[in-house]
């Protein structure tokens, strides 16, 4: 009886050691894998080089357009949405101010406003909205997927934030940058409304347009 009990306890002891060994292997393995992955060089994005102008969207006149339609002109691209009360009108009014300072050179520029809220910002809505800011401003919208792809190509981040009291129960968070793209569609620079006066931005952009 006593012998049987001892054997039984021994079995339990072996069993427990077995479990400890397994646990040690699993944890050690996990640590090893983590260490390895941490040591992997982080995928370096040089940011600027990664920003591309690639999209297939609908303009505010209802026409399907891609980046190719804007090649040959310097592009100023801003992502936002028409339910945005502060940052978007501020930035678009600023862009309009910059455009007004280009004089005749404005013909060499394509200002583009891409919505991140396509379900509410239809081409009709975009038409009324962009025309309030500047006659040259082009509004672009499309399917959720097409807009997401466009934002991805510009490395623009946006997200839907649930906000009970907001219209339709949500707001959009987005980056407030104006991208300057070359006539070849390559990334040139990024501007933020708060960083310089409209006059300074216009001077800066004109200098680049004229190869200075």
């Amino acid at each position: 009886m006593t012998l049987g009990k001892t054997t039984h306890l021994r079995r339990i002891r072996y069993g427990l050691w077995f479990l400890v060994t397994i646990a040690a292997l699993v944890l050690g393995g996990a640590y090893f894998v983590r260490t390895i992955s941490v040591r992997e060089p982080p995928s370096v994005t040089t940011g600027e080089a990664a920003i591309r102008s690639e999209f297939s969207l609908i303009d505010h006149n209802g026409n399907r357009v891609t980046e190719a339609d804007f090649l040959g002109r310097w592009q100023l691209v801003f992502f936002g949405f028409t339910h945005c009360p502060d940052v978007c009108p501020t930035t678009l009014a600023y862009m309009a101010n910059v455009l007004d300072r280009f004089g005749g050179e404005v013909e060499r520029v394509a200002p583009i406003f891409i919505t991140v809220d396509p379900s509410r910002d239809t081409p009709e809505v975009m038409a009324e909205y962009v025309q309030a800011f500047h006659p040259k401003l082009v509004g672009l919208t499309g399917s959720e997927a097409a807009v997401a792809a466009a934002a991805q190509s510009f490395r623009v981040y946006y997200e839907r934030m649930e906000e009970e009291t907001a219209p339709d129960g949500y707001l959009m968070a987005h980056s407030g940058h104006i991208y300057l793209m070359t006539p070849e569609g390559r990334f040139e620079d990024v501007f933020r409304e708060a960083d310089q006066s409209a006059e300074d931005m216009a001077t800066d952009v004109l200098a680049r347009m004229n190869g200075k």
């Binding site: 028409t82 502060d86 009108p89 009014a93 809505v125 800011f133 968070a173 407030g176």
Partner: protein, 150 residues
Amino acid sequence: MMKILIAIVVALWAGASPTLAEESVRVSDAWARASVLASRPVASYLTIESAVEDRLLGVTTPVAGHVMIHAVEKDGDVSRMKHIETLELPTGERITLAPGGMHLMLMGLQDKLGEGTTFPMTLSFENAGEVTVEVFVLGIAAEGPQEVAE
């Protein structure tokens, strides 16, 4: 002509407001951007200064169904509007709501807010009680009332 008229009205109103403010809280330079589209929220901006520690509890206006106090949080490159329930007013500190930052978001507007019009807005403070101001509707590209007065 319209701009000059607005400038005169703003100047008169700016000059007159200190005499109105016998209360501990002074609300000045209240303005809003004109609506671009109907049924879109509009931002309104103003400056608040309180002689004693106070708290803005809420804002109402007959032109909008609901007014929210929003701060803008910059998370790297992303701007997030953050709904704040109450706005703390430390003693003697001038709090300015301005484009690209803190603003009042007016939602459920009955009509478009037209440039050159005004509307009343009532701010409820914990200590000072209710203060009603007249809000000037400036153009969609306006940066502030100073710009018009220039």
